[in-house]
Symmetry: C2
Subunit: 224 residues, 2 copies
């Protein structure tokens, strides 16, 4: 098992985050690094989904993971078990990552031959949605126990995401979660959003998600 490195991220001083994000995206394009920004509420299953994603894609694409957290390194320790390159980013209380903070993370990760860099953002449905990290695509996880009404209550998060993974579908029988209403509310916020029901624990639906992701990486890298 790899050692887990921890990087203390400094708060960004740049007011013009959008420009910083565009610059980072251009640089990553030149380097051939596809950056996925993965967001969700606390406990929606980001790390378990990442473990299954790495398992499915590790022989097809070189993956590096940045685990952002306010404190602790439990997620990076988990990801390290997959054999993927990983770094733990400590945000020092900050509730999101912006482009400059993401840049620090990528430098700490030392992308090198990494083709797919994944940022596991801070567990939060509000603030991370407000800051473009420079990612090629934004993904978010909504888990069944959270309820199908979340797109009504956290509109920006659902607007900025290219794909919404509806996780923990194995517990659908135990919750009042209406998948049709969920789809309706997500598409109300973002008519172009791809919605994929998954169960990260059992692996159900993970192939649909990783196929979609691999297509994005390949199409993005071929357009350089």
């Amino acid at each position: 098992m790899r050692d887990v490195r921890i990087l203390e991220i400094k708060q960004s001083v740049f007011a013009d985050n959008d420009r910083q994000a565009d610059e980072l995206r251009c640089e990553l394009k030149e380097k051939g690094v596809f950056l996925l920004n993965l967001m969700s509420a606390p406990g929606s299953g980001k790390t378990t989904t990442l473990m299954k994603t790495i398992e499915a894609l590790k022989d097809k694409v070189k993956i590096g993971v940045m685990e952002a957290d306010i404190d602790s390194d439990v997620d990076a320790r988990t990801i390290a078990k997959s054999g993927a390159k990983v770094i733990q980013l400590h945000t020092g209380g900050m509730c999101h990552l912006d482009a400059a903070m993401t840049r620090q993370g990528l430098e700490g990760l030392e992308t090198g031959d990494v083709e797919l860099a994944i940022l596991e953002n801070v567990g939060n449905l509000v603030c991370p949605a407000e800051f473009d990290t420079g990612a090629s695509k934004n993904a978010m996880i909504l888990s069944v126990p959270e309820g199908h009404d979340k797109p009504l209550k956290y509109p920006l998060m659902f607007s900025v995401c290219d794909v919404v993974l509806v996780n923990k579908i194995d517990v659908l029988p135990y919750f009042d979660f209406d998948m049709d209403k969920c789809r309706e509310y997500v598409l109300m916020r973002n008519p172009n959003a791809k919605i994929i029901p998954i169960c990260a624990k059992t692996g159900e639906g993970i192939d649909k998600w990783t196929n979609w992701l691999l297509e994005q990486v390949e199409s993005w890298r071929s357009k350089s």
Copy 2:
């Protein structure tokens, strides 16, 4: 059913939130209004817990509820069904409420004869913990599907809360949630925290919570 009023909260201009919070707490003390600040991640069951809380306490104490949300009024509409006085606060994208914003909410609610005012904060485990709202007590809900490791990852939230409700215990058999570890981690962050397992859906454990809350309200009001 009462009409749901919606108040657009203005962003606070006060830099010294702690002083504002202390001032608000003093004023509420004079008015005999106990303010509970209820926090959690999205979808942990704040509104369902509130419904059960109102049901249990409505004949013992006069309750008013402020439902903070970035958008939508679904929670206030639900609470209105309980017959409790309720107002919906729209934070306009803000991820938390500070003391000045809470003051606006209380003015909008028109506390009058309210003895127990409850603020349902924005669903977020990060930012709301950083701002003293002027509340008499802070409560938070951690739901079983989120996992027992959350106190490791969101340290401040667990440090500032007087009580932690562990909700959705009816689904314990379907999740890898270790209640002993949860207690250990919560108490590591805050040795004085009261931990109460509940199921807001079925009502299990709600009496322990409402008894605790009523004791707090009575002890606080008697000390004026």
